[in-house]
Symmetry: C2
Subunit: 152 residues, 2 copies
Amino acid sequence: MVSPELLRRYPFFAMLNDEQLKAIAMVAQECTYAKGAIIVKENMPANKLMLLLDGDVDLIYSGGGEGAICNALVGSIAPGEILGVSSLIEPYTYICSARNTMAVKVVEIDGTAVRALMQVDKPLGYVLMCNVSAAVLERLKYTQVELAAARA
Amino acid sequence: MVSPELLRRYPFFAMLNDEQLKAIAMVAQECTYAKGAIIVKENMPANKLMLLLDGDVDLIYSGGGEGAICNALVGSIAPGEILGVSSLIEPYTYICSARNTMAVKVVEIDGTAVRALMQVDKPLGYVLMCNVSAAVLERLKYTQVELAAARA
């Protein structure tokens, strides 16, 4: 478990009430990963939602080991941002890998447990899915700009 | 207004109950646009959610008229998919433009009205935001693959 107050400091969780924050804090824990670790793996079942506390993470698309694409950089995650959004979005499969460029500290949240909480508490589900959508849209916007630049 | 039965045929709306479908159908209308129209404009307030019935739409990033980027193709929308997801996601601003490659038929839904409905009916908000997230994540996945290929 982590402190609900830790979560409350971050915009992603700031809108939740005390009870909702506590329920999520109960299924969360702080973890550290060494430089170069792969903390999320493309095409694997997405069960972990992470909040990045310290460090930077690269998003990598492997290309599945076939064709010309090999571990291309397709994005990055900064402190305060969430990682592993696929753990809350069907079909619950990570779309890319995440690799630490340095040692990182994260809050690791049991995505399966959060999905169950949202099923029971729809207002919680509504707030979290609004926040997840905003995070994914922001990432899409960044990726579209990068793609436009790569094609220019 | 459109028929609630028209909406029910599409996966994005299929999970809604009769009352929810009817409320959305009340703030929707069918529209057609000629080839080459710009039906969504980058950086403009996002007030329209659209369901594409017939035709294809290109997603274009203009680059704001500065630098090397100029109307780069960054995605496309196929029949049955939704367009204008930014109308349901803060900060409610379109992230790119949408241009018809042919005449298209859409259901145009008042995004502001849908946001108000979701505020009152949180279970509706939860279902719709789950579907919106899935649509945006699918688009992010496609864009990451395109970016990886462009960088290979």
